[in-house]
Symmetry: C2
Subunit: 195 residues, 2 copies
DNA sequence: CAAGTGGCATACATTTCGTATGTGAAAGGA
DNA sequence: TCCTTTCACATACGAAATGTATGCCACTTG
């Protein structure tokens, strides 16, 4: 590979890393692009050349975090014994991951404001499709009632992410986590043919 | 009442009305306080005196919208024949109300970014408490399983608001609305002792 | 080796927020 | 009724941040 492209890729990675830290610590609005790029050993010139604008850099950061979350959830789900417990495990994994302050601030709080409805993001869409396909399988095997799979996936993911947001703001997340997971599983069981 | 206090109340109302429009149309970040106050026939002096800062004005707008939503949902819920269908009706009312572009932009998209976790807002908390008390009643009467009422209320509200966000971004909300309500009711039935 | 491309730095213009100061009208007492 | 005081709001100012336009130097390519 040429030296130019390698350096460019490195710089993009540096910018994303610095941006991820700044956005997580100060929030999107308060994060200064000047200090951001300086901390990466660059200037805003590199930023606007690579990502177009502040929003473009933010989108790149969100995509990175979302991909990590999706990969983790998929990995967790794959370890489950059956499809239904895999679905629940993925939901639980999402709730746990979203407790990370970084994820909370960037993806859950600032994300919708800057990028719009999360279900329309490419990254989240990937995850939704995954959940949707699991539900479709469960409907075929007669485990889950014949509901619209896309709607069901959206509702489950939304409930999980919202629960994480609530948990993170609560006084003692550690105590409430098991209760929340229990209630989440109960809620999801509404889709089962027989509870 | 004195002339001073009346004028002050009028000006506050003017500012909130103008802000509500500007925030809805341009989003929080892009809304200029200069043009905002000018459209209300005032200057930023009035704004900073009455609301402290841009965020304070935004909080006042959110509180107004949230109060309207809560009142509407409560009204809808009261018309229901029994407590359980009242709970479902309130959820449906929330979904419908959140389809309003104004509510969507201000409360669902920008709200969390500017004000933090919605479940911690005074206005939303009122609504959550209402839902929580209904669920507690349903648990006492043996209709709903003995789950943590606060967690359950949070999950239901979160799912409803998230569904509205998804619906609003979808290609044809009118077609998907009944499917979404059906799936929401199914999901909620997971809390029932027997479905 | 020479010419050209382009990734990035620099300088500039614009916009906006928040504060500090000033002013005019209403409230209250004599 | 008149004078003093208060305060709601307007005005002026300073600071900071974003996006763009321009320039430079290293790397690529023929």
């Amino acid at each position: 590979m040429s030296t130019r492209l390698m350096k460019m890729a490195e710089n993009r990675e540096k910018l994303i890393a610095a941006a991820r830290k700044a956005f997580a610590e100060q929030g999107y609005a308060s994060a200064s692009m000047d200090s951001l790029t300086a901390q990466a050993g660059l200037t805003r010139g590199a930023l606007y050349h690579n990502f177009g604008d502040k929003r473009g850099l933010f989108a790149a950061v969100v995509d990175q975090i979302d991909s990590e979350m999706a990969e983790y959830a998929k990995c967790i789900g794959a370890k489950a014994s059956d499809a239904w417990s895999g679905l629940l495990a993925e939901g639980a994994a999402y709730i746990e991951k979203a407790l990370d302050p970084e994820v909370r601030r960037i993806v859950l709080l600032d994300g919708p404001s800057v990028l719009g409805d999360p279900t329309q993001w490419p990254s989240q869409n990937k995850c939704l499709q995954s959940t949707k396909s699991i539900i479709e399988k469960l409907i075929e095997t007669g485990t889950v009632k014949p509901v619209d799979a896309e709607v069901a996936a959206m509702l489950l993911n939304g409930a999980a992410l919202n629960a994480a947001l609530w948990l993170a703001s609560s006084a003692n997340p550690q105590v409430l986590l098991p209760k929340t997971l229990e209630a989440f599983n109960l809620l999801a069981s509404g889709f089962l043919v027989k509870g």
